[in-house]
Symmetry: C2
Subunit: 336 residues, 2 copies
DNA sequence: TTGAAAGCGCTAACAA
DNA sequence: TTGTTAGCGCTTTCAA
C-alpha cells in the first residue's frame, strides 16, 4: 500500500527539459526564467501533481513552515478558541500548527520544546501555563510569543495578555456597586501573573471603596481537582462554616459556576443573597442557569495579536514593544 | 538573535572520535558498536545537548514522526476531547500532532491533505466532517483512520465510530417509555452516515413501539447557523405553528439545549409537557438547567482505538478488520 | 566493531 | 535566462 514513488523536482526538471535550479526558481517565483519556461514547467508540475517535499526544503533552509503551539489543555474552551484563531491565521500565511498539549506538566513542556527545536519550527506560541519558560527555550533562537504568560525574570520575551488587573477591579467594583460588602474571591494559589493581577484588581477595588480586606474571604485553590469541583467544594465548606459573604469573584467561569451550584444546593438565592462574577467569558457562563455575569477576554484578538507579532519576528523584523495588553469587557447577566 | 549554530551528528562524530555512522548507530540503538564507544558518544551528545535534526532524518527516511489530525472544529468539545486523547497517545509513542482545522470547508480540507503529503506525515486521523475523502487522500499511500466518518464508496478505509444507530434507538425508546407519543427529531440534512444512522435508530424505535412516523416531526437542519441557534429557532417555529409534539430527540447536545430554551421561552414545561434527549454527552448537557438526558459517546475510547490502529498501520501491520463500532451509553438527567 | 561514501530533495552561489 | 554543483543532516550499504 505504501510507496507510490513520489515525483521530485528532478523528475520535473527532466520532464520539462530544464535544470532543477530553474524548476526551483519557477516554484518559488524567484525570477530569472522566461515566461515560456514558466509555462512549460508549471504545466508539467500540474500534470504530475508535483508537490514540494518539505523535508528537503526544510533541511536546506534550516527552517520549516510549522508553528508550535504550546497549550495547557486544548479542551479548555478559552484555549481551544485561541488555538482555532492561531490555526486560521497561520494557515493563510502558509504555516501549519503543531499542537503541544502540556497538561501543565513541566516535563512534557520541556520535552516539547526539545521536539520543536529538533523539528526546526519557525516560531512558537506559548499559551498560559507555568510562568517561566524552560531554559532550553530561550537558548534555541526560535521566535517565541507568549499569551497570558508573563515570563518570569526574562524581560525580552514578547507577551500578549488581557488586562487581568482591570478585569479583577471591574469584577469587584460591579459587586460593590450592586451592594455587596463581603466579597469572597476564589483564586488559584499559584503565583502566576494572571492570578496576582486579578487579585490586585480585587484588592484595589476594595480599598478604593473603603471596604475591609478580609483574610477569611480570600479562598485559595490548588491544582488537583477540576475548577468546577474545587470551587463548589470550597463554597460549600464556607457556607457550612457559616462564614458570611454576599459576593463571589470567581477567577474563571467554571469556578463561578461551581460557586453557583454550591449556593443553590444550600438554598441560597443568587443573585438576591449572594452575587457572582466570573472570568473569561466562556460558554458555561452564558448557558448555565442563571447565566453568570463575567469578565470577557477577547480571545480572537489575543490570538491575532500574538500571531501577527510572531510572524513579524519570523520575518526578521525587530520587535520594539515587548508587552501588549488587551482590554476586557464586563458582560452583565443574571448573577449580579 | 537567530543562528545559534546547531551541533550536528558530524560534530558529535568528530568530538567523540568516531564516524557519523557509528554515532547514528548509537543514537538509534542499532547495535554494531562497542559498549565503550556507546558511553563515549552518549557522553558527548549529552555534553553538547545534541538533538537529532528531524528534517535530515525525515528526508533520508522519507517519513516523519508527525501525525496529521483533520478535524472540523477544534472548539467543539467533542472534537477537542478526541484530539486531546490522540495527542496524549501519540506523544507517548514519539509522534507529534499537526492540527488541521477544516471548518468544514472542502477546499481547506483538500489543501490540508496536500500539505500533509508534502510534509510526509506518518499517518492521518480524520475526524467527522464530510463523508468522502478527497481523491488525493486515497492516492497518497499514507495510512488513514477515520473517526465518525464512513468514507463513501471506498470499502477499504479504516474507520471507528460510535454506535449511532443504537444511540438513536435508545434515545427514542427512552422518550417512548417515559410516555412520549409524538416525538420530534432535529437532524442535520446532510446525508452523513452519522446522521442517517441516528435517524434510522429513531425510525426503528418508533416502528418497534408501533408509533406512527410523522413527516412533520422530522425537522431538517441545514448548515448555516450554529447548532444552538438553529435548533432553538426551529422549535420556536414549531411551537408557534402549533405542531403538537411531546418529545424531542436532538442529534447533539447543543441542539437539545436550543430546543430546551425555545420551549422555556414559550412557557412549556420540560420535562412535564415535553421531554428531551440529546446526543454526545458534552458538558453543556450537564450544566444547563435543567440538565439534559443524553446519549454519551465514549470519546476517549474512540480516540484510543483510532490511534492504536493507525499506529499499527504505520508499523506496516495489515489491518483485517476495517470497521469498529463502539458502544454508547444513556445518561439520564432531568429532561426525561 | 567501525568507517567511507552515496544519496534522500531542495536551494543558492557561481558560472556561463 | 539557464545550468552546474555543493551541501544541508541523516541513515544505510558495503567494505574493512
Amino acid at each position: 500500500m505504501r510507496n507510490k514513488k513520489k515525483v521530485s523536482i528532478k523528475d520535473i526538471a527532466r520532464l520539462s527539459g530544464v535544470s532543477v535550479a530553474t524548476v526551483s526558481r519557477v516554484i518559488n517565483h524567484n525570477g530569472r526564467f522566461s515566461e515560456e519556461t514558466r509555462k512549460r514547467v508549471e504545466a508539467v508540475i500540474e500534470q504530475y501533481h508535483y508537490t514540494t517535499n518539505m523535508a528537503g526544503k526544510s533541511l536546506r533552509e534550516s527552517k520549516t513552515n510549522t508553528i508550535g503551539v504550546i497549550v495547557p489543555d486544548i479542551t479548555n474552551e478559552l484555549f481551544s478558541q485561541i488555538v482555532l484563531e492561531l490555526e486560521k491565521f497561520f494557515f493563510e500565511q502558509g504555516f501549519s500548527v503543531l499542537i503541544c498539549n502540556t497538561n501543565e506538566e513541566t516535563e512534557k513542556e520541556i520535552a516539547y520544546f526539545r521536539i520543536l527545536e529538533a523539528k526546526m519550527v519557525a516560531g512558537i506560541v506559548c499559551i498560559s501555563g507555568r510562568e517561566d519558560l524552560p531554559q532550553s527555550a530561550e537558548e534555541m533562537g526560535i521566535p517565541i510569543v507568549c499569551i497570558d504568560r508573563k515570563p518570569k525574570g526574562k524581560t525580552d520575551v514578547v507577551y500578549v495578555e488581557s488586562d487581568h488587573y482591570l478585569g479583577g477591579y471591574i469584577a469587584t467594583e460591579t459587586l460593590i456597586q450592586k451592594g455587596c460588602e463581603k466579597i469572597l474571591i476564589l483564586s488559584k494559589q499559584k503565583a502566576l501573573s494572571v492570578n496576582t493581577q486579578r487579585m490586585n484588581g480585587y484588592l484595589d477595588a476594595l480599598r478604593h471603596y473603603r471596604l475591609p480586606v478580609r483574610e477569611e474571604l480570600i479562598v485559595p485553590l490548588d491544582d488537583d481537582s477540576s475548577n468546577f469541583q474545587e470551587a463548589r467544594d470550597r463554597i460549600f465548606y464556607m457556607v457550612k462554616k457559616r462564614v458570611p459573604f454576599d459576593g463571589v469573584f470567581a477567577t474563571n467561569d467554571w469556578r463561578a459556576y461551581g460557586a453557583l451550584v454550591a449556593l443553590q444546593q444550600n438554598g441560597i438565592a443568587v443573585p438576591q443573597q449572594v452575587k457572582i462574577v466570573g472570568f473569561d467569558g466562556t460558554s458555561v457562563s452564558e448557558y448555565c442557569y442563571p447565566p453568570i455575569t463575567t469578565i470577557q477576554q477577547n480571545k480572537k484578538e489575543l490570538a491575532l495579536q500574538a500571531a501577527q507579532i510572531l510572524l513579524r519576528m519570523i520575518q526578521g523584523e525587530p520587535i520594539l514593544q515587548k508587552h501588549f495588553v488587551l482590554p476586557v469587557a464586563l458582560i452583565e447577566r443574571h448573577t449580579t
